[in-house]
């Protein structure tokens, strides 16, 4: 197929579908318990140099405990999908975990403002950057989930976003229409936070799914953190609720309030006070170092982090905030 134009950005993962099939051919389909701690899951499945994807949407339904643990264990030289990443990106930048980056949305925390530390890191020249968009990365995962090497999309053409991407422009063999061919990404490892999972990794998600259903299927290894473990009988009672099947999953970690300080649909709202503190303290690198010592490096796990930031009292307030509309309006 003729390539009409091509971007100069790097492609950090191999888009070869047959190589991916060889990997998935060997991936276990055994129905076995996969419950472990976050610490264990990161030790086992997240390695220096791996390409990583984080589920959710920045500060909504994110596996915050896994992000902290990756920083705590000092992973380096990773590739990362900066796909709808906000607070997760901020955490990973704090550990300078990655040096290869596919960008769709980074550095910002939406209406909350920009992260000074993430900006410093991205302006340092230490990161090899390839430029994409939210939809472009979504379809790169979609292609991988479908077991094909690329996906045709009608965005990014004509812009610098295309020029600094690794996409190629091709022509439809039926109509002659131009498409940007987006290469599949099979991440080495991803982490997704869900509402409920059984011990084998069958998952239920409420609210928006962002790109997580494709990310789960595209990933070579997948760590699930969940608000609650549920019985396998409950999964089988009504399988229509299952959105990630167990054969995609390598580790299941029960982490209630696992998206904190992010929002969790139908459970708790984001801790805006704490997120403001992150952004503020990043302005001063010395203060930020102390902040990280307190909130990440000296914490045994996610619960110690939550304890240090208001514990159960704070969490109940955030639950109230999540539910206040039903109180106020109905």
């Amino acid at each position: 197929m003729e390539v009409l134009a091509q971007g100069i950005g790097a492609i950090f993962t191999d888009p070869d579908a047959d190589k991916a099939r060889e990997f998935f051919r060997k991936k276990s389909r055994a129905l076995k318990p996969k419950v472990m701690s976050v610490k264990e899951a990161v030790e086992k499945f997240v390695h220096d140099g791996d390409y990583l994807c984080i589920g959710g949407f920045g500060a909504n339904r994110i596996p915050a405990a896994v992000c902290h643990e990756i920083v705590r264990q000092g992973r380096k030289n990773m590739g990362f999908a900066g796909h709808t990443s906000t607070h997760d990106f901020q955490i990973l930048c704090a550990g300078e975990v990655f040096n290869k980056l596919d960008v769709a949305y980074i550095v910002g925390l939406e209406a909350r403002g920009l992260s000074p530390n993430a900006r410093r890191y991205m302006e340092s020249g230490k990161v090899n950057v390839s430029e994409w968009t939210n939809y472009s990365l979504s379809v790169r995962f979609k292609a991988a989930a479908a077991g094909v090497s690329f996906y045709p999309a009608r965005n990014i053409m004509g812009t610098d976003t295309f020029h600094y991407s690794g996409a190629k422009i091709i022509q439809c063999p039926f109509t002659g229409t131009k498409y940007a061919a987006m290469p599949a990404i099979w991440p080495d490892v991803s982490a997704i936070h869900v509402h409920e999972a059984d011990i084998y990794g069958n998952c239920r998600i409420r609210g928006i799914t962002v790109s997580d259903l494709d990310v789960a299927r595209a990933s070579k290894h997948l760590i699930i953190t969940c608000e609650r473990l549920i019985q396998n009988d409950e999964i089988r009672r009504d399988p229509s609720y299952t959105s990630i099947p167990y054969w995609c999953v390598d580790a299941v970690c029960e982490v209630p309030y696992g998206s904190y300080p992010g929002n969790m649909y139908g459970e708790y709202f984001s801790d805006e006070e704490h997120l403001r503190e992150w952004l503020k303290v990043e302005e001063n690198p010395e203060e930020f170092k102390k902040f990280l010592d307190k909130n990440i490096y000296s914490c045994k796990d996610h619960f110690e982090y939550i304890e240090k930031n208001g514990g159960m009292h704070k969490l109940l307030k955030l639950r109230e905030k999540e539910f206040m509309f039903s109180k106020a309006r109905d």
Binding site: G56, F57, A59, N60, R61, G82, T84, T86, V103, A104, Y105, I106, V107, G108, E110, A111, L114, R119, M122, E123, G125, V127, V129, E131, T133, N134, Y135, S136, S138, V139, K142, A153, R154, N155, M157, G158, T159, D160, T161, Y164, T177, K178, A180, R206, G207, I208, T209, V210, S211, D212, D214, N263, Y265, G266, F269, S270, E272, E322, F325, A328
Partner: protein
């Protein structure tokens, strides 16, 4: 006439563009306020889409994120990014509102970087997010932005999001879907559209208290002028009360 600030005027101007039954893709902040105002004032069946997956919510108050729980409040569906962008690519997204650090005369937007070195930029911004996607697919892309000569730049350091690209038929030739593109630019001073042939930005309405000269003086490139330039209508009392009492009581957006 009611007292109002320029942010309120911009939101009201934007809201009036959204007719009942239309479909609009929005982010947080002013665009979301405009969509909420339209829904409460005159377009109860406005379909609001959020890129993260929220589809047709009846938003109770300003979301802080395009993926937070408010974006699916009484929605018809909590979906995902592909669902929303595929709906747009299929041709069902009428409007979207975007912004950026820079905009040029063809409505191209920069939200990626300032400085020539891509790997070591002088200033790094978030990047496209869903902006390039919405602008590629949406029939009528609009921009809400304060107007100053730095932001309205002769040339963007980087084109994150497509406007009419290099003008003329360059967008059609690029491969982007035909017939879609920038529609209106709403600023604190004026409303601009694009001259149909050259696709250059052109003044069509001036906000109360500003002159054509003010608009040109606060723009880094030469603006075209429509044959008839009208005075933009100020917000009505009803619009202001909905905006202040129901949509943004804490002044997150209109207090700026």
């Amino acid at each position: 006439m009611a007292e109002y600030n320029t942010m309120e005027l911009m939101i009201c101007t934007a809201a009036r563009e959204l007719e009942d039954g239309a479909c609009v893709g929005v982010g947080t902040g002013a665009p979301c306020a405009a969509a909420m105002l339209a829904q409460k004032a005159h377009s109860p069946n406005l379909v609001i889409l959020f890129e993260a997956g929220g589809a047709a919510p009846l938003i109770p108050e300003m979301p802080i994120s395009v993926g937070d729980s408010r974006t699916t409040w009484k929605a018809v569906m909590a979906s995902g990014m592909c669902e929303i962008m595929e709906t747009a690519c299929r041709g069902m997204l009428d409007y979207t509102f975007l912004g950026g650090a820079q905009i040029d005369m063809y409505g191209n937007l920069n939200s990626t970087r300032i400085g020539p070195d891509h790997q070591k930029p002088k200033v790094r911004f978030p990047g496209s997010g869903g902006a390039n996607d919405f602008a590629s697919f949406c029939w009528r892309m609009m921009v809400m932005t304060p107007q100053d000569p730095k932001r309205f730049a002769e040339k963007c350091s980087y084109i994150t999001t497509p406007g009419w690209l290099q003008g003329g038929d360059s967008r059609a030739k690029s491969g982007l879907p035909l017939g879609a593109g920038p529609y209106k630019i709403i600023t604190n001073m004026a409303v601009m559209d694009f001259e149909p042939e050259s696709k250059r930005m052109r003044i069509i309405a001036i906000n109360p208290g500003y002159s054509e000269k003010d608009v040109q003086d606060n723009c880094g490139f030469e603006l075209l002028r429509a044959k008839k330039i009208v005075e933009n209508k100020p917000p009505t009392k009803q619009e202001l009360s909905i905006l202040r009492d129901q949509i943004d009581p804490y002044r997150y957006v209109i207090g700026r």
